[in-house]
């Protein structure tokens, strides 16, 4: 059952060293504030999971919180490379980063399997690519009816999934809308789930295209207005495209990066509500 709490308490209670942690949000609703709180609390040896590790994971990887990354596309959308991610993979800085990579379809179906309580999911994919040689979580599977050779992907079961949403009510029911990505599956696949929201409202008003997650499948809900910035929350904020472009410069150099993180993350006290 969801507890309405502060961001700091939600992370303290639900994210531990060595956990497999999924912070999801497909361009939209990326939980930046929660990710920053994980950095501030000094979590270590995390397995970070995310379809599209973008600027947020570049920050987490650059701060050395991750031992492993499970992902399908690691870039700065529309801009270019993730320099901290590349530095970790190419030069082991600030620590080596073990990779497990998939296609988007594979990752999405791994979450679906987790959300469905199944050990694996089936898709037509991976065949003929070199991806199959680099993970134990992909296996060939024959259709028992037609004999067609398909691909099985192992379920993802994060210890904790963290997402950002537009609204929660006081019972901890959460509503998000706009591009909803893989968030429902990521939440339902996880053992624990933390949601930051733009706003706690008295009553959720049904919205076109919205997903509602009942409070009883969530562990903690924290009100963090702007918690997705520089990503965005539809009908609350817009994507800070200029920041995504600026990140290309900030993140190129290790010291510039560390300085930025100190000023904009480490030295900040999270807002409590």
């Amino acid at each position: 059952m969801a507890v309405l709490t502060s961001l700091a308490e939600a992370i303290t209670a639900n994210v531990g060293d060595g956990d497999m942690v999924a912070l999801e949000g497909f361009t939209h609703l990326i939980p930046f504030a929660a990710g920053h709180e994980i950095v501030r609390q000094g979590r270590q040896d995390l397995t970070l999971v995310r379809m599209t590790p973008d600027v947020l994971y570049d920050q987490l990887i650059g701060m050395g919180v991750a031992a492993r990354l499970v992902f399908s596309w690691g870039g700065n959308p529309g801009v270019g490379s993730l320099h901290r991610f590349r530095d970790a993979v190419e030069h082991g800085w600030p620590r080596p980063l073990q990779l497990e990579e998939h296609s988007h379809a594979g990752m999405a179906n791994r979450y679906v399997a987790g959300a469905s309580g199944l050990p694996f999911a089936v898709l037509r994919g991976y065949v003929g690519t070199d991806l199959v040689d680099h993970t134990a979580n992909v296996a060939p599977l024959a259709c028992p009816f037609t004999g067609e050779r398909l691909t099985a992907v192992a379920a993802l079961r994060p210890d904790v999934t963290v997402i950002h949403a537009q609204q929660a009510d006081r019972a901890g029911n959460v509503q998000l809308w706009g591009i909803c990505g893989v968030q429902k599956e990521a939440v339902l696949a996880a053992r624990r789930a933390v949601v930051t929201v733009e706003e706690v409202v008295e009553e959720l008003q049904p919205r076109p295209g919205a997903i509602v997650l009942p409070g009883w499948v969530l562990s903690a809900v924290a009100e963090v207005p702007g918690g997705a910035q520089p990503s965005y929350a539809q009908d609350y904020s817009t994507r800070d495209n200029a920041f995504y472009e600026a990140w290309d410069v900030i993140s190129r150099d290790r010291d510039t990066f560390l300085g930025w993180m100190r000023t904009h993350v480490l030295d900040l006290v999270p807002s409590t509500t």
């Binding site: 939209h28 690691g74 959308p77 296609s103 994919g125 680099h134 591009i179 990505g181 994507r239 472009e245």
Partner: protein
Amino acid sequence: MTYSTDEMMTVAAARHLANGEVCFVGIGLPSRAANLARRTHAPGLVLVYESGTIGAKPRSLPLSIGDGELAETADAVVSVPEIFNYWLQAGRMDVGFLGAAQIDRRGDINTTVVGPYAKPTVRLPGAGGAPEIATSCRRVIVIVRQSPRTFVDPLAFRTSVGDRVSTVITDLGELRREPGSEELVLTCLHPGATVEMARAATGWTLLVADDLGETPPPTAVELEALRSLRPAAMALH
């Protein structure tokens, strides 16, 4: 009107999309070409983005595949698992539109690493939607600038299989796969490009079609539509 080689490439790509087709679009040049087609000869082109937006009609060019503009103008917004399972994998896409860091003579694509996988010289973003776009769309068009670093054989890593790549559009011309043939053949040069330039920009011995054509230059209408398609973010600069 003068134009850049990138503009020629984008216009050439847009011309390959027919009105009424359903197109699975990656971000960057593919999205620009698809949106150009929708603004010119193919107003009924259906744009599908992997963020789950079906029938998006963006008024400005999205910077990312998850821009709010795409959701707000789409006929339907579905989840990411659904877009890959019910829409892409099920074979509902006429055209897939991909970029590439490296491509080989069979149209196989690398977007994963340059150098050895365990210790790459360049770590690229990875697969994303590409492997299943490459094998699920009825035909696949690749847009990529031609150079000996991108046109390589063998690839450092095969991220996506090229069997369905029908056309590769570059800043120099177009390569196509003839029916029954495995290898891509240069079939068309953009104005100003030569066979020698194309050969020099290709890391293998490039096959050239007997009836090599020349791409018609961008029309004023195409160029104007393309230039009006500035991303919202760039318009701020």
